[in-house]
């Protein structure tokens, strides 16, 4: 009996056309503009068009992914969509994606692990495939943060962008490579550190006294400290579990939140920062979608190839942090 594995067949991504440079952020004081790049490494971001929503971005990424893999939508058993900026509070954004994609056989649901969405989603797909529940699963992560950010909030608006990534997984044999292991962590005691306070049952819009409560907020310095403490620890645990050394890892696809966080993580792991794939200068932080977008670009640009060992790792609201070890 051969052991089942969750094989990565193909990836795709979609970034909206509208590209906004830091110096086009006219709502902020001119003297504050250079700080954006210096503090985070973000110089541009993409913004969804007025008539584009989260499922529209997801659809484009999903189509590109399936096309690359030579997969027909009707062959997909399940669709998992990671998003923290859904089309609507309900139903799941994945249901519109399923319809638009024409994946009639597929079940579809959302997960919300905020910026860790891609890594939690990969772990979930792996469970479904390894258990024999599914053979073909499409994992999509899509975010339109420009709609949930306060455009006047300098501490959040300049750093995020819209985008979507997708990965198609299929059952395979262990020798073919695939998702080798995952580690997921959550500390719910810090759930207020990154949140949209209003719009749910804790604070319905009707009971909101401060209009700013409808927007995303984040305690940036605390998130920075959390990430540089927890992520190296998580990656070490992941590699230990798989009995793999850091030198075996071709590339680390880390959540694209802040260039200085990535540099600190690299230093802590004693890994050259060049081994971390980065695209945040161009796209900013695309929240839950960043890891799948980066994975697709790393593959497309030849930074990683079939047979390479790759770590995907992310952190964000919850607080949640997760990592996957994948043999491409």
């Amino acid at each position: 009996m051969h052991e089942r594995i969750t094989r990565l067949v193909s990836t795709g991504s979609y970034l909206p056309e509208k590209r906004l440079a830091n110096d086009e952020l006219l709502q902020f004081p001119r003297e504050a503009i250079p700080l954006i790049g210096e503090k985070t490494g973000v110089y541009y971001r993409r913004l969804a068009a007025d008539d584009e929503c989260t499922s529209d971005l997801a659809l484009q990424a999903a189509k590109r992914c399936l096309q690359k893999g030579g997969v027909e939508p009707q062959d997909v058993d399940g669709i998992i969509l990671a998003t923290s900026s859904p089309d609507r509070l309900q139903p799941a954004t994945a249901t519109r994606l399923q319809h638009l994609l024409g994946a009639r056989r597929a079940f579809a649901f959302d997960i919300n692990s905020v910026c860790s969405g891609s890594t939690f989603g990969i772990a979930l797909v792996d469970g479904l495939v390894r258990s024999g529940q599914c053979k073909n699963v499409l994992m999509v992560a899509s975010e339109v943060y420009s709609r949930i950010l306060n455009p006047k909030d300098y501490a959040t608006f300049p750093f995020f962008g819209d985008g979507a990534g997708a990965a198609f997984f299929q059952v395979g044999l262990a020798r073919e490579g695939g998702v080798l292991c995952s580690r997921l962590e959550t500390d719910g005691s810090k759930s207020d550190m990154i949140c949209v306070p209003a719009g749910g049952t804790r604070l319905p819009f009707g009971k909101m006294t401060n209009p700013r409560a409808a927007f995303f907020r984040m305690r940036g310095p605390d998130v920075f400290s959390f990430a540089v403490e927890k992520i190296p620890e998580l990656v070490r645990q992941l590699l230990q579990e798989a009995n793999v050394s850091m030198t075996d890892i071709r590339c680390i696809i880390c959540h694209q939140a802040n260039v200085h966080i990535i540099h600190k993580i690299a230093a802590s792991l004693d890994v050259p920062v060049e081994r971390f794939f980065m695209n945040l200068a161009e796209y900013g932080n695309t929240a839950g979608a960043s890891v799948l977008i980066a994975l697709d670009e790393a593959l497309t640009q030849g930074n990683i190839r079939r047979g390479d060992l790759v770590v995907t790792v992310a952190f964000g609201g919850g607080l949640s942090w997760g990592a996957n070890l994948i043999r491409i």
Partner: protein, 92 residues
């Protein structure tokens, strides 16, 4: 002056301050003592002061060691801002 302080506290409560901050914030509190104060928060405070009081306060005057008392002074007497900036420039 006390009116400026009350308005400043009120808008800051909406934007920045955590409930715990309210217990410690006085006119002598330094900006660096606010939870999650950093250079991003300084820009947001600059915008907030401009929107609320129509006073343009340079970022150099929103440094970590500035107190709320300093801010109240600049908001109440904007003509002192230029002089304060000259001192900052000499120091730099």
């Amino acid at each position: 002056m006390s009116d400026v302080w009350e308005r400043l506290k009120s808008v800051m409560m909406e934007e920045f301050l955590e409930p715990d901050d309210l217990m410690i914030v006085t006119e002598t509190t330094k900006l660096a003592e606010i939870s999650n104060w950093d250079s991003m928060a300084a820009v947001n405070l600059q915008i907030l002061i401009h929107e609320t009081f129509c006073v343009e306060l340079p970022l150099d005057l929103l440094r970590d060691e500035a107190t709320f008392s300093d801010l109240i002074g600049f908001i109440s007497f904007p003509e002192t801002i230029a002089d304060a900036m000259r001192k900052v420039n000499i120091r730099n």
